[in-house]
Amino acid sequence: MTDRSWNEVQALAVKAATGAAVPPAQALAFGAMCARHLADGGAEAPLGDALRAPETILSLALQVERMIETASLSPRIVTASEDDAGRRALLVSWLASLPCQTEINVRAHEIQACLSLTDPGTRTRPARIVLGAELFCRMQELAARTYVHDSAASRESGAGAGLMELD
C-alpha cells in the first residue's frame, strides 16, 4: 500500500479508464469518482471490477446523468436504485465527486440525493490517498495503453530541441 496525492490517483484513474476504452467525459468523471471513493475509505474491488467491465462505467455515468437531468428540471431529491453493492458504492462516490453540493442518503438498495447543481461542493479532501498495489498496477497497465511511442519528429521539435545548451 502506498499513499499518493489526490491528483496522482485521479489522473491515473482517468488514464486507466481511457485505456479501458471508456470515452473522455466518462473517463474524467471516473477519475474524480475514484479519488473520492478511495478517500472516503471505499473498497478497491468495485473499482477494479469497473475497469474490467467498462460498460459498468458507462452505465454509472448514464445513471448520474439522468439524476442530474431530473435535478435540473425540478430541484428535489432524486433517486436511483442499485441492487449490486459494489456498483451502489461507486454510484454514491460518483455523486459525492460532483463539483456541486450534494447530500446523499442510502436506504437499502435505494440512493437518494439532493443535488444543488450550481452551488459549489463543500466536501474536504484528505492529504493522501492509499492505493493498493494490485489496483495501482492494473491502472498503470491500462494507462500505458493510452501512451504513444514518440516519433522522431516529436523528439526533434520539443522544448529545448535544436539548440546548443550553453547559451
Binding site: A25, R155, G160
Partner: protein
C-alpha cells in the same frame, strides 16, 4: 478568444508572479538563508526560509556539477545543474537529506505532502561564466549581455499540485499568500531566482550591482507540456480571462483622468518603448513582429497625450480597434497597470476551486440551441479536410508528456488526447436527433458525445472557457497557447524557438530578496537602460 489574440498577450499586474510579489511586498517578507553548504565552485545544498501569510516556507536547493554534455533544456533530460523543492515549513537535517536524495531525480523521485513544488534549472553557461569571471576580477558583468540574456539559470519544469507525490493544491489553497493561481509555483520561481543570484556571488566572490542583479530574472524553457492545460481546465481559463476582461472594462469606464493618471500613462508608455527596444529574439519571423510592434507603438503613443470625451480611455480603445493584436494587447496591459485600486482585487477571482457548476440541458433542442448560439466558430470547418484535422495531440510513452503529431505521417492517432473540442462539438451537432428528447437518452446511444455535451454546457455558463479555434488544424500554433498561459504567469521577453516551444524570462526587474516592500511593486515591462 482566438489563438492569434492569445499569442499576442502581455503580462499584466494580474499576472500571478506580480500578484505574489505584491503580497510578499505588502508583508515585507524576509528571506533568510538558513542552511548553506556549498563548495567554492557552487556545488552543494542551500535552504532559504521565509514567513508568509502566517506560514513558513523554504526553498531547498541542490546544486550539482553537471557535465556539459548532459546540460539540456529538453524535458526528457535526466540531469540538471540544480534541483529544487519548495517545502512547507523549515526542513530539519533529515528532511534536507531526503530532498537532496530525491530532488535531483525529478520525475523519477518520490515526494510527500510537505513538498509543495518540485523544479530544476540549468545554467545559462554564457551568462553564468561571464558573471563569475567579472566578479572574480572585481568588476561587474557586461550590462549588454544581461540585457540580451536576462537570467543566470533557466528552469525546465516547475511541478505542482500533486505531481510525483508532492502536495495537492487543495492542502494550501486557503492559506493567505498561496491562495492565488499558481502562487506556490511562483514563490518557488522567485526563490530560485534569489538562489541563483546568491550562488553566483558566492562563486564569483563579489557583489553584483543591485541594478544589474534586479535585471537578472529566472529563465524558463517551455514546450507542449503546458499547452493542453488551457483546454483541460476550461473554468480556470475562463476565470483568468474574465478577471482580465473585467479589469479592462473597469479601466475603460473611468470617467476622468487625473493629472497623476496621465503622467503615469506617459511614464509607462515610455517604459514600454524602451522595453521593446531591448527585446530582441534570434528567430527572424518573431523579431520582425517585435520590430513592427516597436514602430507601431511609437506611432501610436501621441494618442496617449490627446485625451478627449467623457470616457477618454474608452475613446482611446475604440481608436485602437484597427491596430494590430500585438499593439492592442500592449495597450490593454499598460492601461490595467495604471489603475491598481480598480484591478488588484480581481486577482482573488483567478482560481477554480470547484469545477464546472452547470445544470443539465432540458433536452436535445436546448442543447442544439446552445451550440447554435455559442459554437458557430466550431461548426464552420470541414473536419474531413486533411488540413483541418492534420494534428493530433497525444501523451508520449517516453516521458508521459503531451506531444503533437501529424495524423497522416505519424502513428498513434487512434490514441489521440481529446483536445479536438471544436471537431467533437461539430460531430455532436450533426448527430443530434430532429425530435427533442432527454440528453441522457441521446447519450445512451452516443456515449462518445458526452465530452462535447459537457463542453457546450460549460461554455454556456463560462464564456471564456474555450479557445475558439480548431486545435487540430495544420495551422494551429501551440506557441500561441503557451504565450497566453505564460503571460498570465507574468513572463516577459518571449523568445520563440519554433511554433512548439519558447524561452521566456520571469521576475526580471522584480525587487531583490531584501527589497520586498510595498513601494517596490513597479516592475511591469522592466528596462535595464
Amino acid at each position: 478568444m482566438r489563438l492569434a489574440r492569445m499569442g499576442a498577450m502581455m503580462p499584466t499586474r494580474l499576472s500571478f508572479l506580480r500578484v505574489l510579489l505584491r503580497r510578499l511586498c505588502a508583508e515585507r517578507a524576509q528571506i533568510i538563508r538558513t542552511h548553506w553548504d556549498m563548495s567554492a565552485k557552487g556545488y552543494g545544498r542551500a535552504v532559504y526560509s521565509l514567513g508568509f501569510g502566517g506560514h513558513t516556507y523554504s526553498l531547498v536547493a541542490i546544486s550539482n556539477d553537471l557535465p556539459a554534455d548532459q546540460r539540456s533544456d529538453r524535458v526528457i533530460a535526466e540531469a540538471w545543474d540544480t534541483a529544487f523543492v519548495l517545502y512547507d515549513g523549515t526542513p530539519d537535517a533529515a528532511e534536507i537529506d531526503r530532498i537532496a536524495a530525491q530532488a535531483p531525480l525529478q520525475e523519477a523521485g518520490r515526494f510527500g505532502p510537505r513538498d509543495l513544488v518540485l523544479s530544476r534549472a540549468n545554467k545559462s553557461v554564457r551568462m553564468w561564466d561571464a558573471t563569475v569571471a567579472a566578479l572574480k576580477a572585481g568588476t561587474q558583468p557586461d550590462a549588454a549581455m544581461i540585457r540580451d540574456i536576462g537570467y543566470l539559470m533557466r528552469t525546465t519544469a516547475v511541478y505542482g499540485n500533486g505531481k510525483f507525490g508532492i502536495a495537492d493544491r487543495h492542502l494550501f489553497a486557503d492559506r493567505p499568500g498561496l491562495s492565488g493561481a499558481f502562487a506556490a509555483e511562483m514563490l518557488a520561481v522567485y526563490l530560485i531566482r534569489h538562489f541563483t543570484l546568491d550562488l553566483v556571488q558566492h562563486v564569483g566572490g563579489g557583489q553584483l550591482d543591485p541594478r544589474l542583479a534586479r535585471h537578472l530574472g529566472i529563465g524558463n524553457a517551455t514546450g507542449l507540456g503546458m499547452a493542453p492545460f488551457l483546454v483541460t481546465h476550461p473554468v480556470l481559463l475562463n476565470n483568468w480571462v474574465t478577471a482580465r476582461e473585467t479589469a479592462f472594462a473597469r479601466v475603460r469606464s473611468v470617467g476622468h483622468l487625473t493629472g497623476r493618471h496621465r503622467a503615469r500613462i506617459a511614464e509607462l508608455a515610455e517604459r514600454a518603448s524602451a522595453h521593446l527596444a531591448e527585446w530582441h529574439v534570434p528567430a527572424q519571423e518573431h523579431d520582425t513582429t517585435l520590430r513592427r510592434l516597436e514602430q507601431d507603438w511609437a506611432a501610436f503613443r501621441p494618442r496617449l497625450d490627446a485625451w478627449s470625451g467623457p470616457r477618454p480611455l474608452e475613446t482611446l480603445w475604440q481608436g485602437a480597434r484597427s491596430e494590430t493584436a500585438a499593439l492592442q494587447e500592449l495597450l490593454v496591459a499598460l492601461l490595467i497597470e495604471v489603475f491598481p485600486d480598480e484591478v488588484d482585487g480581481l486577482s482573488e477571482c483567478m482560481t477554480d476551486p470547484f469545477g464546472a457548476l452547470v445544470a443539465a440541458f432540458s433536452g436535445t433542442d436546448a442543447l442544439r440551441a446552445a451550440i447554435s448560439r455559442d459554437w458557430q466558430w466550431a461548426l464552420m470547418h470541414d473536419y474531413d479536410s486533411p488540413d483541418m484535422c492534420r494534428r493530433f495531440w497525444y501523451v508520449s510513452e517516453a516521458k508521459l508528456e503531451p506531444r503533437l503529431g501529424d495524423r497522416f505521417a505519424e502513428a498513434g492517432a487512434e490514441l489521440e488526447t481529446p483536445l479536438d473540442i471544436a471537431r467533437r462539438v461539430a460531430a455532436l451537432s450533426a448527430d443530434l436527433p430532429p425530435q427533442d428528447q432527454p440528453v441522457s437518452d441521446f447519450l445512451q446511444r452516443h456515449p462518445v458525445h458526452a465530452h462535447a455535451v459537457a463542453r457546450v454546457a460549460t461554455l454556456a455558463r463560462y464564456p471564456y472557457a474555450e479557445i475558439r479555434d480548431n486545435l487540430i488544424a495544420a495551422t494551429c500554433r501551440p506557441i500561441d497557447m503557451l504565450r497566453c498561459k505564460l503571460s498570465f504567469f507574468g513572463a516577459t521577453k518571449f523568445d520563440p524557438k519554433s511554433d512548439l516551444w519558447t524561452r521566456i524570462t520571469l521576475a526580471q526587474g522584480a525587487p531583490l530578496g531584501h527589497e520586498l516592500s510595498p513601494e517596490a511593486d513597479d516592475w511591469w515591462l522592466p528596462v535595464l537602460g
